[in-house]
Amino acid sequence: MALLEVRDLHKRFPKHGGVLNRVVGNVHAVNGVSFDVNEGEVVGIVGESGCGKSTLGKTVIQLLGATEGSIKFDDQELTSLSHAEMMPFRRKMQMIFQDPYSSLNPRLTVRQLLREAIRFHKVVGADQVEAHIDSIIEKVGLRPDSKDKFPHEFSGGQRQRIGIARALCLKPKFLVADEPVSALDVSIQAAVLNLMMDLKDEFGLTMMFISHDLKVVEHFCDRVLVMYLGHVVEELTCDNLHADARHPYTTALLGANPIDDPTQRRSLTILKGDVPSPYNPPPGCPFTTRCPVVKDRCHQEMPPLEDKDATPGHRAACWEVEGAGVASSAAAGEG
């Protein structure tokens, strides 16, 4: 049984306009996304800015209410829970944020930050709170004396470690990391990634890793979902990402990524145009405006996300990608 089951999740943000400030349209940030995350697995969510990956992350842990669809965590439907009922799940699902400079309350020291969360959820007995704080701080690689310092007294990398400590001190089972290393320099990025890997193994965490950088996702995650304009266009394992990728957008993403080897210099695959505006997405497949292999069928119908070839769990949403089964009719395809 998967730890997390997301079925046909939608998240729409109303757009106001007109004289009476009525709702005149909707931005479909997350548009019918379904996926599973098994215990101990790290699933990557990758996509360019505006593809809805952050919104998906926040909706899964109920920071944002889902407009439609179901989110099952530990076999419990989250979308229908009240604030109180949600409390135990709040503790089990935690989040790590992107910007080291705005993810920590400037007025709280590290100790106060952690103690507040621990005492609220009564993670440990009142007397062991300090001990628990010390152990967490030591685990994320911070010096013990940094307990009583303010956030502005730390570097970017150290602040991310504090963010991780805040998430882990509640002993969660599931962690959503929203671009945890994007704001860091490469060397510090490596250190934080290593730390997250160690913690995953030690605590047996299940993680959802959101990033725009394919290299980092390929390195860190087991499986990856590629998103474009609110839709999941491809889902595959990271073992041999370059070879396995089938969806034109995924291959374009891989091709556009400059690799750090001058001898491998090759012309980057160039996708023309820009991501269309989410206010009026193009009909049918959202990628039609930029897809090199677009056909007229793509304009009419949204291709379903379905198994495309032998490897299990490898799904793509594109008419041009030959399906593993018979020529995929519209009706077939998973949920």
Binding site: Q98, N105, P106
Partner: protein
């Protein structure tokens, strides 16, 4: 606890490095001390009303011209001491006589502590000298006047082509007579000196500490009722601090609470708060104040007898209008903070929204509260001046506004001491707060540019 954290925050360290800000806070501290000193009995309300010398005497720098010296002497003897001493002479019993003697005191400068009769004897001598001096003065004045006329006539007569001789002789005779009168009057200054010595004997200037206090009271001169301007200034500092502090604290608190609620909870709360804010801020500030004062007219708050209560309409007026600015600023900041990731993290942990507002959002607007506090403090002080001028502000006790308003006519007669004292005291405090609020904004508001 929150304050300790706030004091160790980055902003405060940057603030401490700003020398100007430290000087400004020292000045404010000094003013606060004066206010506290005045508050705890140092300067009482009737201190500000007690007469210390004659009206509108200039302060320490201005040299006494001869006319002013004579006028002061005349006032001291004839207008001040005479009625008291005559009353003492007529007094039936010892108690009322002593009472008359006491009324002659000018602040710390009491009559010489001699037995009653000797005082009266001294006064008789002084009165004698005074009368003689007065008479000489009058004759001298009259002589000067007459001489002037006659000289003009004489010149006119001489200038004629057929001057009338006996007319000339007559005029010359008159001139001679009045010049004789003037010589007699030459003794006047000498008499004045004797009178002054006698009066000093009768009404000595105190020595030692009371002497210093008495002279200090005269530093900045006296107002239209003879009361010491510096004492009024100090008392007014207390009033200014009182008004500034109460208004600023009240306005900042209301503004922050409503602003935070509107900013964080949005939609209906936001609509309601912003409706009130727009309504209050679209009536000109003074019109609203005038309307409020009409509301309080005739109520217990509207009489001179109880000055403390007379401040309530002022507080109500400021209270209704000042919080609007703070509310807008805090609302903007809270709406910004609400989107920041550490608030989302707090929500993710599961804290209730009100807890998040109080623990995570509001503490991060503390710097704005301080900035607004100092801005509103200034606005309250300057507002009080305008209100007192319009008769809507402080009643029954001196304040900077009252002093400036009363000194309006004195200025046209060239007496600046009262208005300059009030303006200078106010200038010091308001300037200090201006500098402090600027420094606060630099230290805390990343965007602000000095």
């Amino acid at each position: 606890m929150m304050l300790k954290r706030f004091l160790r925050s980055r902003g405060m360290r940057k603030l401490r490095r700003n020398r100007m800000a430290m000087v400004a806070s020292a000045v404010i501290g000094l003013y606060a001390l004066v206010a506290l000193f005045a508050l705890f009995g140092g300067v009482s309300l009737d201190d500000t009303k007690r007469r210390v010398w004659r009206e509108n005497t200039p302060g320490f720098l201005q040299p006494m011209s001869k006319e002013i010296a004579d006028y002061t002497l005349d006032w001291h003897a004839d207008k001040w001491l005479r009625p008291k001493m005559e009353a003492a002479r007529r007094a039936s019993d010892e108690r009322s006589r002593q009472f008359s003697f006491d009324t002659a005191a000018l602040g710390q400068r009491t009559l010489a502590d001699l037995p009653g009769d000797e005082l009266i004897a001294l006064w008789d001598e002084a009165a004698g000298i005074y009368d003689e001096w007065r008479e000489l003065q009058d004759t001298a004045d009259e002589a000067n006047e007459e001489l002037e006329f006659f000289r003009i006539d004489l010149d006119a007569e001489r200038a004629k082509d057929a001057p009338d001789q006996d007319m000339i002789e007559e005029l010359e005779g008159e001139i001679e007579y009045y010049e004789g009168q003037l010589e007699q009057a030459a003794r006047a200054p000498e008499l004045a000196a004797d009178l002054r010595a006698k009066l000093l004997e009768l009404h000595p200037v105190p020595t030692g500490v009371p002497g210093m206090v008495y002279r200090a009271k005269l530093w900045f001169g006296t107002d239209s009722k003879g009361a010491s301007i510096i004492i009024k200034g100090l008392y007014a500092t207390k009033i200014a601090f009182q008004i500034g502090f109460v208004t600023a604290v009240g306005a900042v608190l209301i503004g922050t609470l409503l602003g935070a609620a509107a900013g964080f909870f949005g939609r209906f709360v936001d609509e309601a708060v912003m409706w009130i804010v727009s309504t209050l801020s679209s009536i000109p500030y003074l019109v609203l104040l005038a309307v409020l004062v009409v509301m309080f007219r005739g109520s217990i708050f509207d009489n001179e007898a109880r000055p403390a209560l007379a401040l309530v309409p002022l507080y109500a007026a400021f209270g209704m209008t000042f919080w609007v600015g703070t509310c807008r600023v805090i609302r903007g900041e809270v709406m910004k903070i609400k989107e920041l990731e550490y608030v989302q993290a707090a929500t993710a942990i599961g804290f209730a929204r009100p807890y998040i507002v109080l623990r995570h959002v509001v503490p991060n607007t503390v710097h704005l509260m301080f900035i607004n506090f100092s801005l509103l403090f200034i606005a309250a002080i300057k507002g009080e001046v305008i209100l007192s001028f319009l008769g809507l502000g402080v009643k029954g006790q001196p304040s900077w506004g009252i002093m400036i308003a009363h000194s309006k006519d004195q200025v046209s007669s060239g007496f600046f001491w009262e208005i300059l004292t009030a303006t200078a005291l106010m200038f010091g405090l308001v300037l200090a707060f201006n500098i402090l609020s600027d420094a606060l904004q630099d230290a805390f508001d990343p965007k602000h540019v000095s």
